[in-house]
Amino acid sequence: MSIPRFWREIRQRYKGIGVECGNCGRVFFPPRSICPDCRRESLGKMNEREIVGKGKVITYTEVHEPMPDFRMQAPYTMVMVEMDEGVRMTGQLVDFEPEKVGYGMEVEAVLRKLGEESPSGIIYYGYKFRPCP
């Protein structure tokens, strides 16, 4: 990932900044510049909205053939989460007991290392999910 590309997405990755359509109230993450339902009605009304970070697991999968950055964590679990704001986010599940993973599991977003460019390069941080205490 190039430095500018990562830098542009820092607010989304660190703080879950999405947008809310000022016309219909639907929340989007990652941010969109136009609401696909309201189209031109939403122009100039897509307001910033923070996704607080709490939600429920709607589906999950275990990855056994990891990407190079995830070699140390294999096998690892990816979850799709329905956030309290109504949007869906995908991320890695961490700090969990494997037998407790399931549909409807309540999770919260936490900031973790996602990877790095190289041992001398930029470190990428972003959200992952962990079970709510």
Binding site: V94, V110, Y125
Partner: protein, 353 residues
Amino acid sequence: MKTKTKVGIRGYGGYVPGFRITPREIGAVWGKDGEMMGAALGIRGKSVPAPDEDVVTISTRAARWALERSGLNGDRIGAIYVGSESHPYAVKPTSTMVGAAIGATPHMTAADYEFACKAGTAAIQTCMGLVASGMIENGIAIGADTSQGAPGDALEYSASAGGAAFVIGGERLLAEIKYTTSMTTDTPDFWRREGQTYPSHGGRFTGQPAYFKHVMGCTSKMMDELGMEPSDFAHAVFHQPNGKFPMNAAKKLGFSREQMETGLLVTRIGNTYSGAVPLGLAAILDIAEPGDNILVTSYGSGAGSDGFYIEASKNIVKVREDGVPSIQEVLRDERHIGYAEYAKYRDKIRKGG
């Protein structure tokens, strides 16, 4: 040192990674009696960060809780100082990343601190000065580490990970910081040279002329200046590189086991370096009663101590119901691992490709 206006802790939070390894596991790899080593150090286990955890992630988790507890939004924070000896970058601040993650950027000042294990309390003093002078309304001071001990070294039994964050402000205080004293000398007891992976230390030299001289010297001087005695404090927390040093210092100074036990986390989680005293203080605030006097003395090799006299305010009882987990609740998340996993997670295995 006393501030001209009232300053104190408006919010706080602490985080410790969930993996644990026991001295027995470590000793077994190096042909040592780990259980005996653990007993000698007063350590039953130490925390180990996951491979995706570092000082940025630990600091952010603690800072988010501290901010939530303070009731402030990120944009009300005028300064962030992160003290650590394991910042992930040698050049590029941890504090900017924490600032972005809690929504405090861009209108704030920030810097990273390094003073072995006392960089976190140095950050508290800096925020006190900025708040008391009226330069900022609120600041965040963090002490956090993911410390490393060289494989097979005595430090490996204790070097662990964790951190705590404090929102320092002048209003709606959970606890007032009424006084602070520092003691600083040039003492070469423990160091890490630029580019080195693991620290070096002077063995027994880290005890009497280093830890004890500064912790006891700073604490005694502060009590003299205040005209107070050990019995005036409900709780005390000293830097805790192992379970023995703080208890010995406490005994010599006249503090009891009861005064020390709440803040003594090293027996369960090891030495969290810059996180140690901040986490101990957070654990005390979790259970403190209004009016309780708390004595805090950190220690950083190189060497120096920062002492604080803190008084819990009537607001302190609110922390029990504000939804932010207490340190004891955070410590409940414990997952034990063996040396092989520990070596993998702490990047001690040479990999190909």
